[in-house]
Amino acid sequence: MKALCWQGVNELSVEQVPDPAILNAQDAIVKVTASTTCGSDLHLLGGYIPAMRAGDVIGHEFIGEIVDVGPEVSRHRPGDRVVVCSIIGCGRCWACRHDEWSLCENSNPNPGVTDLMWGGTTAGIFGYSHAMGGFRGSHAEYIRVPFVDYNAFTVPEGVSDLDALFASDAAPTGWMGAELGGVRPGDVVAVWGCGAVGQMAARAAMLLGAERVVAIDRYPERLAMTARHVGCEVIDYTSTDVTAELRERTGGRGPDVCVEAVGMEADSTGIQRVYDGVKQQLRLEQDRPIAVREAIHACRKGGSVFVLGVFAGFVDKFPLGALMNKGLTLRGAQQHGQRYIPKLLDRIAKGDLKTSYLATHTMTLDEGPKGYDMFKHKKDGCVRAVFRPWA
């Protein structure tokens, strides 16, 4: 079959690869009908998540149709139109039972890597390096879905492919940031990053009752899209001092909840970008935590900061003093999608949550390398490039 493969840092190509197969009795094979680029892929592409091999199939946010199931699958059958969570859970370990699916204890066949790096094994993720289990990605005609009874969700009739697609990863990630960040009615929430994840976090904060939501980015088209589709306030960080602006908009307090949806390749206009950029290139620092630092600084005393952006290792100049003395709560996680996907599909069906507008560019799988080039460099207003392998 055809698949989009990582070939090296900033190098992708479309290749013929062997078809996936059912390897465990609880697996299914899904025919992929739509699969989108995600900011996390940019970290793989840039070589910041290093456990990649030439020829690895990438992509993790997708929907499709079940075409084959293993003998122990009970909740799905061929023909089901499903959205699949980007994170693989077993559904029965203590973490999955407590709805912390990205901490699943049975879904990563290479447990040694994340355990060595972080002192604990994390869940398998589709198309996300050998550290996350070496599972193939979804930018392909077919994909194997392990523990399919727990990881695939039937898309309600009336919900379009492009709406359901973002229930795989961007929407539940954003929802988790707002919910586990502790957003309560009446809160002021700031979100760093107006990619799909940041926009979904901002929308989730509004739906959870936040009184004011402010989203921050540098791209005028992303800021405009966020204002229009999410309906929140926006700040362009290249033309203003974000912390001062947030103070001024919040009676001097700062936001109650700060959600970081930028990740390890954060940008800035100041000297920090040069400092972290050089250190990252020399591999003296693995991640650039510019937005995390700013969120901690801007957050109100006693507030909370949730890190949705992906980080891999160690950072410099972490403002531990601010965290400790201001009494902040800091959390982060890979998304616990299975916890939110059914509720999100309901909200999408009811029209509370719009998602399909994020798919700014729809293309064939053959156009994969071009799609990533557009998405990486935010060309032509690209927020998400979506590949339709069978279109």
Partner: protein, 158 residues
Amino acid sequence: MKRLVAGAAALAVAGLGMARWAAARARVPAAAKDPLESSRWMGVTVNRPPDEVAPAGHLPEPLARVDAEVRMNRAPGDRGTEIYARPREHRAGADGVLARLRGEDPRTEIRTALRETKSLLETGDVLRSDEEIATTRPTLPGKVLDMALGRASEGGRL
């Protein structure tokens, strides 16, 4: 040709990235040598009550297969059962290191058995990786990666 060279260089960077990633981990101070390393119990917590883990005192199959001392107890709270295992004889010092280098570390086998036991009891299966039907091609940085990943499938905190 130029493009190929650039591609190879980029790949080499990726391979080195992995090595550096691992090296950065080694800078964390807590990595002091553990004097009890070879005799410590390795433990997993299984999300099942003790009577389901060892019905009528029978050990789960992966653990019954290895030569290990095994004990278990109810885990605190709602966490199920803690299962512990360690080699019957532990080879200390240079002998142990040599055995490990030859790939004969009995702890590796026991760690795998514990992990499989947990997965079988909780899910009824042990998940296999798509790596079994490879889409990748051999490269030099891939070899570096193999070394850095080491026996990733057998590792993990236990």
